[in-house]
């Protein structure tokens, strides 16, 4: 596309009929109040905390629904709360804006958020400090809503860092276990690396366009050099790789599974980790002006989705499988964004939120039943004992596998199509589009395979563990059923009935996509899913000896996968340890020896000089007389000679 047309379309997409004065802040405020109340009241009465928090989340969801239905087509609501700060040429408003993209995000966040709150009541029922848990969980909702409601980059950034904080607090929720606390810290720090990139992007945008308001920025974009767009886009993407766990910053997400499972479902699958994708969608007008950056996004995303899927193949911890699967699926979302199909990225974000939240909650239900056992080798046969959990887990597995008519099929199919046609809008992608699509298809097969594997190991066969599993309480089963229902029909609804593409076309570029295909065609297009699911069913129900043999066949490869490509070890060896040693050396060597040494050395020299000179201070008048005489002679000679 021509530069000017791209700019024009960016300006068009940010031109809204805005309605002022809507009290959007209340959406975010409700969970904040809930967070406070859950702690204060929950401290007295532990059981009330969960219900308070859930109520706050549900009320917030109600508010979102209200604005969602009131939102006119192509319009947006705006709520300027106050001028946050201003100095010199920098002025930032605390501004909320509710457009179609925000509406979708808000619905996901508060909708799924409410379900997970409800689920947590049962899951955390026996925890001593559950009031703290619900306080954090509501605080997370508050931050996440700031993130998606923010009308400029800085309010978004407030939410961005806020969700990072809540993630830190919730991963390390059981902080008596130091490795859990360390996982939380790791998440925060790795995210901060991304945030540094994000901050630089904000500085660059402020400097070059003089605004960080999304709408104003969209109007002013254009006229700068491609290099600048590329630089800003890449800085933003660095931020996105941190939050959304992409290579090279994905290492925190698998560790984040240390947190309670509802946290993994809400924060580390459905909402927070998709913030990076949201950021790219929000800033799409900048990315389309930086074709090179989009290729980088695609490449990183593809690599991430492939690597994570490979690692997921051999994990035995049920949550680790889901964690790597999340990394991989986030890669899929970025693939769509990189291909220029931002609405598809959002589509996959939504469907993924449905089925991945369901899968995580299902795994939580299993873990809850097996008394905190997470190793799938200690499970098996749970399908008979906990039918609701098993059924919902299977539905979601088929959804993530991309089998029509389950939800994942529609978004995934769009992603692969978008990759194939990405050359049309980005000439740099012309040569690679097909190649990207092929690898993505392979990843889709792998996804179907490892997810089915996990379902087989957990629910089929006979029970291998030693505890007495039981079906979970109703508060936990109900959210599972709702989510499984959404994972079942959500994709179809958004594709055909509600038309997400049509809904988002006023805020995101939606390229004309082909006429809707028939049911048979979509079944045909689901072949990667069928292949993966079939293969896994075969290997893990009938030919159960084969996986072990395969595993032993190429030991180095399987070990490489099992040990997660040694990312953590390499980072530790190449960056963390050397940097710490460097710091230590800096302190002992530079600070104490050289800098302080020279300070104290100077003092010592002065001291010594004093000692030497002190010898002359005898207190004897004749000595002083002698000095005076000598000095007089010296001065006379000095003046005579010169």
């Amino acid at each position: 596309m021509e530069h000017s047309t791209v700019v024009e379309s960016a300006q068009h997409l940010t031109h809204h009929v805005t309605t002022q004065g809507a009290a959007l802040g209340i959406i975010a405020l409700l969970p904040l109040v809930g967070s406070f109340l859950a702690f204060v009241i929950g401290k007295k009465n532990r059981d009330s905390a969960g219900w308070i928090a859930t109520l706050a989340a549900a009320l917030s969801f109600g508010c979102v629904l209200n604005y969602f239905f009131a939102l006119p087509e192509g319009g947006a609501f705006e709520h300027r709360v106050f001028e946050w700060f201003s100095a010199g040429n920098i002025s930032v408003d605390f501004l909320f804006r509710f457009d179609q993209l925000t509406a979708v995000m808000c619905l996901v966040v508060t909708g799924i958020g409410s379900l997970i709150h409800l689920y947590s009541i049962g899951y955390m029922a026996e925890d001593e400090s559950r009031h703290r848990f619900f306080c954090y969980l509501n605080l997370f909702l508050f931050s996440m809503l700031l993130l998606v409601l923010g009308g400029n980059l800085l309010v978004l950034f407030v939410g961005w860092e806020g969700v990072g904080l809540c993630s830190y607090l919730l991963i390390g929720f059981w902080f008596k276990n130091l490795s859990f606390a360390a996982a939380g810290k790791k998440a925060f720090i790795v995210n901060r690396i991304g945030d540094a990139g994000f901050l630089l992007a904000i500085f660059l945008i402020l400097l070059n366009f003089g605004t960080i308001d999304f709408v104003e920025l969209g109007q002013r974009i254009g006229g700068a050099s491609t290099e600048l767009y590329t630089l800003i886009a890449l800085c933003l993407f660095v931020g996105a790789t941190g939050k959304s766990a992409q290579i090279p910053l994905f290492v925190w997400l698998p560790d984040a599974m240390a947190g309670p499972t509802p946290v993994s479902a809400l924060i580390h699958a459905a909402t927070m980790v998709t913030a990076g994708v949201y950021l790219l969608a929000r800033m799409h007008y900048l990315f389309v002006l930086a074709p090179l950056a989009m290729v980088v996004v695609c490449t990183v995303a593809l690599l991430t989705s492939l690597v994570a899927a490979l690692i997921a193949l051999v994990q035995n911890d049920i949550k680790k499988v889901l964690a790597y699967s999340t990394v991989s699926q986030l890669g899929f979302m970025f693939l769509a964004a990189g291909a220029g199909a931002y609405w598809v990225a959002v589509f996959h974000l939504v469907t993924h939120a449905f089925f991945k939240a369901c899968l995580f909650l299902g795994s939580g239900s299993v873990i809850h039943a097996c008394h905190h056992e997470q190793d799938m080798r200690e499970m098996g046969g749970l399908g008979k004992i906990m039918p609701w959990t098993a059924a919902t887990y299977w539905i979601s597995t088929l959804a993530i596998a991309g089998i029509a008519p389950f939800a994942g099929y529609y978004s995934k199919h769009h992603i692969i199509t978008a990759l194939q046609t990405s050359g049309e809008s980005n000439s740099l992608m012309l040569a690679y589009g097909e190649c990207f699509a092929t690898v993505a298809t392979v990843v889709a097969v792998l996804t179907a395979f490892y997810m089915t594997r996990s379902a087989c190991m957990t629910f089929l066969g006979s029970y291998r563990g030693h505890s007495h599993p039981h079906e979970s309480p109703k508060t936990m089963v109900l959210p599972l059923v709702v989510l499984a229902f959404l994972a079942f029909v959500g994709g179809y609804l958004l594709e055909h009935q509600l038309s997400l593409a049509g809904y988002l076309h006023s805020v995101l570029p939606v390229h004309a996509h082909g006429e809707s295909e028939g049911f048979l065609a979509s079944l045909l297009h689901s072949w990667p899913g069928f292949l993966g699911v079939g293969l896994a069913l075969l290997l893990y129900t009938k030919l159960t000896v084969v996986p072990a043999k395969l595993y032993g066949l190429v030991p180095p490869v399987s070990k490489l996968l099992a040990d997660k490509f040694y990312f953590d070890e390499i980072y530790d060896f190449l960056i963390v340890k050397p940097l710490y040693l460097f710091s230590f050396g800096l302190w002992k060597g530079a600070d104490q020896a050289v800098i302080d040494g020279s300070v104290n050395g100077t003092a010592a020299v002065v001291d010594m000089t004093g000692e030497v000179v002190r010898v002359t201070e005898t207190g004897q008048l004749r000595h002083y007389g002698l000095f005076m005489f000598a000095a007089g002679v010296f001065i006379t000679i000095f003046y005579l000679i010169l």
């Binding site: 700060f85 920098i90 806020g162 904080l165 400097l207 302190w587 600070d591």
Partner: protein
Amino acid sequence: MEGLPLLSTIIFLPLLGAVMLYLLPVCKPASDSDGEVSRYTALIFSLMTFVLSVILLVAFVPEQTDMQFRESASWIPSFGIHYQLGVDGISILLVLLTTFLMPIIILASRSVKDGVRAYLFHMLALETAMLGTLLATDVFLFYIFWELMLAPMYFIIGIWGGKRRIYATLKFVLYTVFGSLLMLVAIFYSVNAYAALHGEYTFDLAKLQEGLVLSRNVQIWLFAAFALAFGIKVPLFPFHTWLPDAHVEAPTGGSVVLAGVLLKMGLYGFIRFAYPLFPLGAQVFGPYLALLAVIGIVYGALVAWAQSDIKKLVAYSSVSHLGYCVLGFVAFNVASTTGSLYQMLNHGISTGALFLLVGVLYDRKHTRLIADYGGLAAKVPVFAFLFLVFTLSSIALPLTNGFIGEFLILSGSFQTFPILTAVAVIGVILGAIYMLGLYMKTMYGELDESKNGDLTDVNSRELLVFTPLFALVFVMGIMPGPFLRVMTPTVESYVQNVQAKMVTVAQEELDYDFNPAEFSPDTVLSKRRGEASPLAQVRFEGGLQ
């Protein structure tokens, strides 16, 4: 309030309180063995000072960009030295920070057991000196107060400090004095240069600022002398090594006042004196100062990470944070300079609070080593919560005060020094590494019952100490507007004025060589058109004695 010299009252009220501690019979050790009465007396005086400074803030007109509440009285007329005070948008919030922190420090002085009265005396005397330094508009008066700050601090560290207190306090005083003396020379030189041009001696900052015409070369030298004095005080890398020693050895209150107010004096000196007096020197040195600031940011953060002593860690974090302040100021645009001033307040609050928190631990367990703690969150949840909040403020999480300052500084500096600022952003990452590392090692994990099983949570008096700081963290993070509005008009006109001087003087190409003889007293005398020089009078009088 009409007719009351408000600024003088604010400055000397603490000193009055200090004297009262020794005059009031109830404060005598005989009748006040545990120092309670002395504490309340000191608290009342510091609170009254705070109330007065709040009145000052209310009466202050932000839109007026020059000095307000001026007071002037001739002091040493023959040299044009005046007792002259004034406050503007740059100094007023620092005054408030000082008067705000002092009651908190006095409240937290319970851990001082011996010589409470003397301790409080020094604290109040220190407050007077600090306020005088901030409010003086006469260079000589400024210098007097500047040096006066040293004496109480010398005793506070030297008497109530830790094991190596003598070493630390001597290092602190000698290092600072060394820098100040060079500044004194530079001050005299400037005054002489002014006299050479205008035929009269003056130490009036406004007059010097207006009438001083110096060549670029001279400005470079004079700026260097000022920069050394102020750079040591900030402390700017590589002049920072006195700071960790002083902090570690100082009693809690000493650390709080050191980090909270004293460190800001260095940068305040740059802002008030070095830049307006020697704009060309500033122009030359600016990028180098920025470089040192950025090195300080990264270096301080890295070295903080390597520390095993909590107080030392916080001390090095101060080096890093003050680096941000310096970077913001020398980037010299309205946003970054405002951010720098704002960050000075933030640092006073959050680092002050962190030192107070360390003090709480130290009072109970008499150790500051990170390794001696661990798992405290389960035992002392309120303490852990406060620690978390101030940690987050220190690492500039949005909606805490630290974020506003850091964002204004970095986004402002980015407009002047993009590459350096990009490097400085690394400090944002490192800050999280060392602070969260500290938090994890002390608060999380399994509690060692034998070591810390008897630890008690913050008591109500300590809670009273932390509450105002806690509130400010969020007030200043969410509603920074009222604070910023007090300073932005002054900062705007300030930056404009100094920048205009950088440009116009540069255009005049006053580039002749540095020649000290040019401004020697003899030259000055010859230019006084026959009038008797005060300097000559002094010589004459001195000769008679």
